[in-house]
Amino acid sequence: MQQQKPLLTKLPIKDLAKKIICDGHLFLFSGERKFYLMKPGVFVDPAFIKKYAVTNPVFDFESVVNLEVKEKFTKHFKELRYLQFEKDLRLKCSEIVKEFYQTYSEPEHFLSFALACHEAFCVLPLEDQAKMHETDMHLFRKALYASAFSIIVGMANDFYHYLMLKDFYNLTFSLDIGLCASSYSYYVAEACNSENRNPGSGKKHLREEKASQIEMDVFHNHPQKSYQYLKDTPILSYPELAEVCLYQHELTDGTGFPRGIMKGQVSSWEAIVIFADSLVEITAEYQFETSVVPYLLNFENQKLKDLPVNRVYKKLCLAFSHFQAMKETGS
């Protein structure tokens, strides 16, 4: 296949300042050299804008977002918001899942969907989003993608109400907001990734890496801090859902943290958030430029051993396979 040349467009800084999330690769030509300034899916930092606004530059911009896809999902979400009857809601959600399946069975950047979701559901204050970005821009991007996954997983698990889905989004987004601390480090992020991949291994990882006690504390207390953040910030339509923050790292055998609660007590909606969170890691590598559906269908994680999470994952696969079956049989 012939590789397409990147389509560079000129983007003045005033146009960049209008964006909350960078939807492409941002470059700046200085003399003969090209500087790579911003990745897609990253929060457009006001400090960055302030810094470059002095010289008023025009950047070279390579968009990765398919505006058609974004508009399509934005329209769907808008329609979903004003539907009232259960049947209509269910049909709309199944339509969205179907659309998602069809769109992301092919290589398509996930950011289009993530941006549509962010536009439709995110109510997190901008300063808190900036705080996440300041802590780690990969942490922000992880939150952006994971929360977008929570919408599709929620819909596949029979949650159709806009407000409920909105809460899932914001819950998933702020699930790791408790990590935002001055002592956050690469090791903490790695511990989180390790914990997501293999529950119970986070603390072990930190010990192996000889992390400091403060780092250990940040990692240990982040569920409680996230919970506290959601309690203090009235962003949820159903505030009782904030409880899920406390279960994100609890294990079936009661050896998890912070409380050591049995996982048999986790509801399916809580499992949706936990599962969505485990789909993305805090890393620079994830770009989701390829097709996402095969990634989801082939997802393997230790968290899936937990019954509620497994149920949620099975339902997602069932929703996808249903459409796949429809496609294959031509019915």
Binding site: Q84, F85, E86, K87, R90, N157, D158, F159, Y160, H161, L163, M164, Y238, E240, L241, E243, Y247, T252, D253, G254, R259, I261, M262, K263, G264, Q265, V266, S267, S268, W269, L307, P308, N310, R311, K314
Partner: protein, 908 residues
């Protein structure tokens, strides 16, 4: 947690357990004690009842709420509120034990396992579907699917639907109170012929009151008071569990096709409920099951925290409790190897008292006999009352020897201090406490009495003092007594038959004495009861009389004489003749008969006692009911009073308002109307004055007009008429002129039309000429003379047009002038002075008529003018059309001119 840590000890107040249930308890090694058979006590965790509907008494008797004891009822509850308030949390009919589900529910209840999903909670159920509710008023679609599945499994869908609707409304009510959180997650499934619907939701501050308040049986205006009750009544089995660690409530409803399970034997279970507080912890050991499991009900016995051993329990249980407890025997529902040990713990006269009943052991016949006795003679309700009677017996003992239970407590303390090594272990202390003789207890009671203190209030110092000062003496006395008795004991009596008879006599006399004392105590009890409840105990009176009559102490007295006689003889002669031996045998027979009679009497008295208690309970219930009714009536009265007072207040207010209004009106009547009238009068006077003035003015005017009329007379009028006629004639002339002009215009337009027609004809001719020319151009040169002719014609036409336009302008200006003149004449007509004479009036009318005519003429003229204008416009349009045609013709002519020239050029 606490519940599970405690070894399970169940007090059975049902009398006879169903064999299946009995088997269940045996298989699970759970201690069950029947108070009818055994007076052994334990730290009860549960009390099983049957056919009892008021649990207040049981709660008071066994301190259910304080000691966290729970009631299991084997019959349907009429008043669920009363049941749950009194720590009742399981209703399971015997019928449930006919199938697998009964033992499964019992396992779940005792072990307290569960989970969010149906698979966790009821592992053997196959999940059929699930849905989430975020809007409780938008559930129709899910319910339809649920009902369809229920139909498929053959479950009564109407019940299911009723259950769902009421349950969701109950939870919606909780949500409204902020005690439940969205979403409500539902899972449904089936196992064999049982259909299950489970829901769970987040609940932060749920209390038992939130459950009990919705369990009302009364259908009232406030639906939230009976939602849950209706839901419970719609399900065959209702399971309400709470998980405090995650603040979640799980509600499961079960429906079965089993025809044995009817409305009367529906089940209910409240797990982890506690009175007045937030729910207790729910024991969960992370039990997660496969999503869909068809496996049979698993054995969870490993999870159960069993009692150590039956003997250990018995040791713990068998606390010394005065003389009554000498008959102690425990019913151990355990096929343990410790049967012998348990039997050895039985105190008192082990020969006479029946052996401890072991349900599963070497002597099943005995147990069966016992069960039959219980079944035949005593009803299930009576059993409960027996327990109560025992409690009251204890009370009576307390009256005699102080607070026995408190003595036990203190005795433990003493025992602990005697043996310091056992201080830490409470159980060991308890076991030591069992061994403490009664003497010490009575001594302690006396000591406390001397101090004028209740035993509870005895401090450590007092106990120390008791130990130092009194205890050694008591022990000494005890030892001396023991020595005395041992000295009295005949050591070589066994060999001699006389000695045997003597021993028997002694034993029988002792027995007799004991029985007498028992009789006395019973009589005293009956008397106490009589005294206390004379009104409602007519039957008890009869019973006590019968007891008194049948007690027959006379026989005993005669026997006593005989006994003394024989004893003396044996002591003196140590030989008895045959007659005497026969008499002795008869005496012994009588003694044994007497014993049997006493026993029978005792049983009778117990029965009577039980009856009394039943009656007492019944009367208590009745009293309660009447009290409730009274309360209700009081409430009604209060409410009616309130309503009346409100009404009275309202009426008072109305009266006061009316009074105020009256006062105001009276005031206004007294003050304001006079002023108003005065004002009105003044105004009227003013108006009157004005009118008089106006009258004067009019009079003056009339007089002046009359004078004017007299002076001018007919000359002026004639002149005016002439002038008017002149004007009229002028106007008529003008109209005629305008008409003529219009006619002229019409004529002109006719001319113009004819001209247009002629022009059209000319045009046609020209076109024909052009065509001819065109045809000729191809062959010949065009004639040069036609073009100037056309030009001349065009010029002429333009000149005519200009003339016509000028004429139109002139006519328009004339029309405008005419209109202005007409308006002036109208004004002048209007300004004409009104005459006072009849002649002038006639003239005025004539003038008016003429004016009318003139106006009509004017209107006609205006119409004509409008038509003329329209015609002129038409003419203009035609003119412009003609001009256009002319222009076209000119162009065509020019083209025609230029075309032959080109052709000629080309040709050249």
């Amino acid at each position: 947690m606490e519940r599970m840590r405690k070894p399970l000890a169940i007090l059975n107040l049902t009398g006879a357990l169903l064999p299946e249930l009995k088997e269940y308890f045996i298989s699970r090694n759970i201690l069950v004690i029947d108070p009818l058979i055994s007076s052994a006590t334990a730290d009860w965790t549960h009390i099983i009842t049957k056919d009892i509907h008021d649990f207040n008494l049981i709660n008071d008797t066994y301190d259910l709420t304080e000691k966290d004891r729970h009631i299991i009822s084997l019959t349907k509850m009429d008043d669920l509120q009363n049941f749950t308030i009194n720590n009742g949390n399981l209703i399971l009919d015997d019928v449930w034990f006919k199938g697998n589900l009964g033992s499964f529910i019992m396992d779940k209840y005792f072990q307290g396992y569960g989970g969010i999903t149906l698979g966790d909670n009821y592992p053997s159920f196959q999940e059929l579907g699930s849905f989430n509710v975020t809007n409780p008023f938008n559930t129709g679609e899910y319910l339809d699917r649920l009902v369809q599945k229920a139909f498929e499994t053959g479950v009564e869908a109407l019940n299911l639907k009723t259950y769902f609707d009421h349950l969701i409304m109950y939870v919606a009510g909780l949500k409204k109170q902020g005690k439940a959180g969205f979403p409500f997650e539902f899972t449904y499934g089936s196992y064999e012929d049982v259909f299950a619907l489970q829901m769970h939701f987040f609940s932060d501050h749920l209390e038992i009151l939130d459950v009990t308040t919705s369990l009302s049986t009364v259908i009232s205006k406030r639906a939230e008071e009976y939602f849950l009750n209706l839901a419970v009544q719609s399900a065959d089995f209702f399971d309400f569990s709470y998980m405090p660690e995650v603040n979640k409530v799980i509600i499961t409803g079960l429906w079965t096709k089993d025809e044995r399970i009817k409305f009367e034997n529906r089940g209910l279970m409240f797990s982890a409920l506690d009175v007045g507080r937030v729910f207790h912890k729910y024991e969960n050991e992370g039990s997660t099951s496969a999503l869909i499991s068809q496996s049979p009900i698993p054995d969870f016995t490993e999870r159960l925290f069993f009692s150590k051993t039956a003997s250990e329990l018995n040791n713990e249980v068998s606390v010394v409790k005065g003389s009554k407890e000498e008959e102690e025997s425990s019913t151990v529902v355990a096929g343990s190897p410790d049967e012998k040990e348990t039997s050895t713990t039985v105190k008192g006269q082990s020969e006479e008292i029946p052996e401890p009943i072991i349900v599963k052991g070497s002597e099943p016949e005995d147990t069966d006999d016992e069960v039959r006795i219980i079944k035949g003679e005593i009803g299930l309700d009576e059993v409960v009352n027996i327990v109560k009677s025992k409690f009251e017996e204890e009370k009576s003992v307390i009256r005699v020897s102080g607070n026995k239970l408190d003595i036990d407590k203190v005795a433990y303390k003493i025992a602990a201090s005697v043996d310091e090594t056992t201080k830490e272990s409470n159980l060991k202390v308890r076991s030591l406490g069992n061994k403490i003789p009664d003497m010490i207890k009575t001594g302690l009671y006396d000591f406390a009495k001397n101090l004028n203190k209740p035993i509870d209030d005895l401090g450590d110092d007092d106990i120390d003092r008791f130990q130092v000062e009194h205890l050694p003496e008591i022990i000494k006395q005890g030892i001396l007594k023991k020595n005395e008795t041992s000295a009295k004991d005949p050591s070589s009596a066994a060999a001699d038959p006389l000695k045997e008879a003597e021993a028997k006599l002694k034993a029988s006399s002792e027995e007799n004495e004991k029985l007498k004392s028992q009789m006395k105590t019973l009589a005293s009890e009956v008397k106490i009861l009589k005294e206390s409840k004379a009104k409602m105990l007519e039957i008890q009176m009869k019973a006590s009389k019968a007891v008194q009559e049948e007690a027959s102490p006379v026989k005993a007295d005669s026997d006593d004489e005989l006994r003394k006689h024989f004893q003396q003889k044996i002591n003196d002669q140590k030989i008895l003749n045959e007659m005497e031996l026969k008499k002795l045998a008869g005496l012994l027979e009588r003694e044994s008969k007497l014993i049997a009679e006493v026993k029978a009497e005792e049983l009778k008295s117990r029965k009577l006692h039980i009856e009394n208690l039943q009656k007492e309970a019944f009367f208590a219930q009745e009293i309660e009911k009447t009290q409730r009714q009274l309360k209700a009536k009081d409430l009604m009265l209060i409410k009616t009073k309130e309503s009346f007072t409100k009404l009275v207040e309202r009426k008072d207010n109305e009266v006061t308002e009316l009074r105020h209004k009256n006062e105001q009106l009276s005031r206004t009547l007294a003050t304001s109307p006079a002023q108003a009238q005065e004002k009105n009068i003044q105004n009227l006077e003013k108006q009157k004055a004005n009118l008089f003035k106006q009258l004067d003015v009019y009079k003056i005017k009339l007089s002046s007009l009359a004078s004017k009329m007299q002076s001018s007379k007919g000359d002026d009028h004639k002149e005016e008429a002439r002038k008017l006629q002149m004007q009229n004639n002028q106007l008529k002339n003008q109209f005629e002129v305008s008409r003529k002009e219009a006619e002229k215009w019409q004529a002109k337009t006719g001319q113009m039309l004819s001209e247009v027609n002629s022009l059209k004809q000319e045009k046609i001719q020209l076109e024909l000429l052009i065509k001819k020319l065109n045809s000729e151009v191809s062959n010949k040169e065009p004639p040069k003379t036609e073009a100037p002719v056309n030009d001349q014609e065009l010029r002429r036409m333009q000149a005519q047009n200009q003339i016509l336009e000028n004429q139109l302008k002139e006519s328009a200006s004339r029309m405008v002038a005419l209109e202005s003149k007409l308006q002036e004449t109208m004004k002048s007509q209007k300004n004409l002075p009104m005459g006072g004479d009849d002649g002038s009036k006639v003239k005025i009318t004539q003038l008016e008529n003429s004016v009318k005519k003139l106006t009509q003429d004017l209107v006609e003229n205006r119409n004509l003018l409008g038509e003329a204008k329209k015609e002129t416009n038409k003419l203009r349009q035609e003119k412009t059309a003609l001009q256009n045609q002319l222009d076209k013709l000119k162009k065509e002519a020019l083209k025609a001119k230029s075309a032959p020239a080109k052709k000629t050029g080309k040709a050249a």
